[in-house]
């Protein structure tokens, strides 16, 4: 599935102040692409990722998904796409702290068409991918940072999404955990799956056809 962003502008307005987060950003992403987005803090990386992941609709410009403008999709269709097409991984894990690993990974399945009886199978498979199958009943608040991030990845992968949106997923991890997380993400990829990776650190770049783009004060440059 092709993702095309054409002249995207995003302005945040708060308390009378306006901040231009993205300025005239255009990029085209094909099946199997790995796009590394680099840039300083506040350069608009997360904003771009949120727009691509259909989490932010307050932009101007065109975002074409599968030949159709994203804004033309109904709320229901957008929710289905967030559920099936995109897998989100955030730097600070975004986990339900009071729940156990199993319940955290289960969240996307609640809104999918996977039958309830199949939940366990899906969750076990996903947790096996990240090496946490034995942690299913453990509360996430008792896990280490690396384990938490792996739970977040298991949740992102449980519905087998086409597009992985990773927002600084290794930002809070030590080198050992960073390697482990990157291995899991890159092992998931194949010729059709897309990775969009926001990072400060070019060491995160691995094998395969990679497009590296830089965001600077909202402007995108292909390196």
């Amino acid at each position: 599935m092709r993702l095309v962003l054409e002249s995207i502008n995003r302005i945040y307005a708060k308390d009378g102040y306006k901040t231009q987060a993205l300025s005239d950003v255009s990029i085209s992403i094909q099946d199997g692409n790995q796009v590394m987005i680099i840039g300083e803090s506040g350069s608009g990386k997360s904003t771009l990722l949120n727009i691509i992941g259909l989490l932010d609709r307050g932009y101007e410009g065109n975002y074409i998904i599968g030949g159709k403008n994203a804004k033309e999709y109904s709320n229901r269709d957008q929710a289905v796409m967030r559920n099936k097409m995109f897998g989100y991984i955030f730097q600070e894990y975004a986990l339900l702290e009071s729940e156990n690993v199993y319940d955290n990974v289960k969240v996307p399945l609640l809104y999918s068409d996977v039958k309830r009886q199949k939940f366990r199978e899906y969750i076990e498979e996903s947790l096996s991918q990240v090496g946490l199958k034995d942690f299913m009943k453990k509360k996430v608040k008792y896990l280490s940072g690396g384990e938490r991030q792996r739970v977040a990845i298991a949740r992102a992968l449980v519905n087998k999404p086409k597009v992985i949106l990773a927002d600084e997923p290794t930002g809070s991890l030590d080198s050992k955990n960073r390697k482990q997380v990157l291995d899991i993400i890159y092992n998931y990829l194949d010729e059709t799956r897309v990775l969009i990776f926001v990072t400060h650190d070019l060491e995160n770049v691995r094998k395969g056809a990679q497009t590296i783009v830089q965001l600077k004060q909202g402007y995108l440059t292909v390196l």
Partner: protein, 355 residues
């Protein structure tokens, strides 16, 4: 839907103190309202029930002895033409006939509506065992009246309900004549008894004032400490308390409740924002989030209603109020939550890296 239900109940557990506080507030508020409404209702009913009834007076001495003139007695007779009566048991006649015999001065229909209001002297009885009654040397034929029609709660003397009771009724000028006669014939306190046993229709303020004025202007040595006016003032105080205190209290409570709800709702929304964002980015729709909130607040409302129901606070008299309250609060909460959620950007905490 089942998932949303489950998540809603999980939210309840996680915010149990807020849930408990909400339930307690709704229950207490409703109980105060129900009690206020009931008190107002009973107060109004009491007022309606008592208005056609009679009032009596407390007479007190202001001097060692009192004096009055026969002319004054003639003047007061007009007060007793209708809506006023004085009733006194005759000790001597009661002993003579071995049954309660009452002197009734004035409008005796206040005792039993079958006693006709006409000038002169007449005698009434419930039973038919006697044909005549001799009063101070004069024979009077006895007319029968049904005991069942006698007003039971107007007079303190329960002997008026004795099936053997006899009523010697004086109306018009006969009142003044018999009182004057009796006071001359060794019963000097008959005037005192006549005055102190007077009952006047509660609503007849003109007659009551006329009676009061008569006592203060035409009789020396006695005065009225009117229980009627004291009682009336007491009722006014009750009404004043209900209207000036309880109703504003209810309004203030309601405002505090709305304000607390809004503040706490926003707090909870803020606390749940990360949770909701995770669900939304995992494929939840707006209606899923809404359903969770509806389960959360629906449970609070349902439990409050159940508590009130089990407490017996909902019955025919209070049901319209309670049902109206719950319909209003349910509709308001539903509309408010839908509006508030629509206006809240649940993804704005994804800006930057701080989910």
């Amino acid at each position: 839907m089942f998932a949303n239900l489950k998540l809603g109940f999980r939210d309840i557990w996680e915010h149990k103190f807020f849930v408990f506080a909400c339930i307690a507030f709704i229950v207490i508020f409703n109980l105060i309202q129900v009690m206020t409404a009931l008190t107002l209702y009973h107060h109004q009913k009491l007022k309606e029930d008592l208005l056609p009834e009679v009032t009596s007076f407390d007479i007190i001495y202001t001097q060692y002895d009192y004096t009055y003139h026969k002319e004054a007695l003639v003047d007061i007779v007009s007060i007793y033409e209708e809506g006023a009566v004085s009733i006194k048991r005759s000790t001597s006649l009661s002993e003579s006939y071995a049954r309660p015999v009452f002197f009734v001065f004035g409008d005796a229909s206040l005792i039993n509506p079958n006693i006709s209001n006409q000038d002169g002297t007449s005698v009434y009885a419930y039973d038919t065992s006697l044909d005549n009654l001799q009063v101070y040397g004069v024979d009077y034929p006895i007319r029968n009246i049904p005991l069942t029609d006698t007003y039971t709660d107007r007079f303190a003397d329960t002997y008026i309900l004795d099936s053997n009771a006899l009523f010697v009724v004086y109306q018009g000028n006969a009142i003044a004549e018999v009182i004057d006669y009796l006071s001359m014939e060794g019963n000097p306190n008959i005037f005192w008894d006549f005055i102190s046993n007077t009952h006047i229709i509660f609503s007849d303020v003109t007659r009551i004032n006329g009676f009061k004025n008569f006592i203060s202007d035409r009789v020396d040595g006695i005065s009225i400490k009117s229980s009627f006016f004291d009682w009336s003032n007491t009722r006014d105080h009750m009404h004043k308390f209900l209207v000036d205190f309880l109703l504003p209290l209810s309004v203030v409570l309601l405002l505090i409740g709305i304000l607390s709800f809004l503040t706490i709702f926003r707090g909870i929304l803020q606390r749940m924002k990360c949770d909701l964002t995770i669900h939304l980015q995992s494929g939840a729709r707006f209606r899923d989030v809404l359903a969770r909130f509806y389960v959360f607040y629906g449970a609070i409302i349902a439990v409050s209603f159940a508590i009130l129901f089990l407490q017996g606070a909902i019955f025919s008299l209070t049901a319209p109020f309670v049902y109206t309250f719950f319909i209003i609060i349910t509709v308001s909460v539903c509309l408010y939550i839908a509006r508030a959620l629509k206006r809240t950007n649940l993804f704005d905490n994804l800006r930057g890296d701080y989910v």
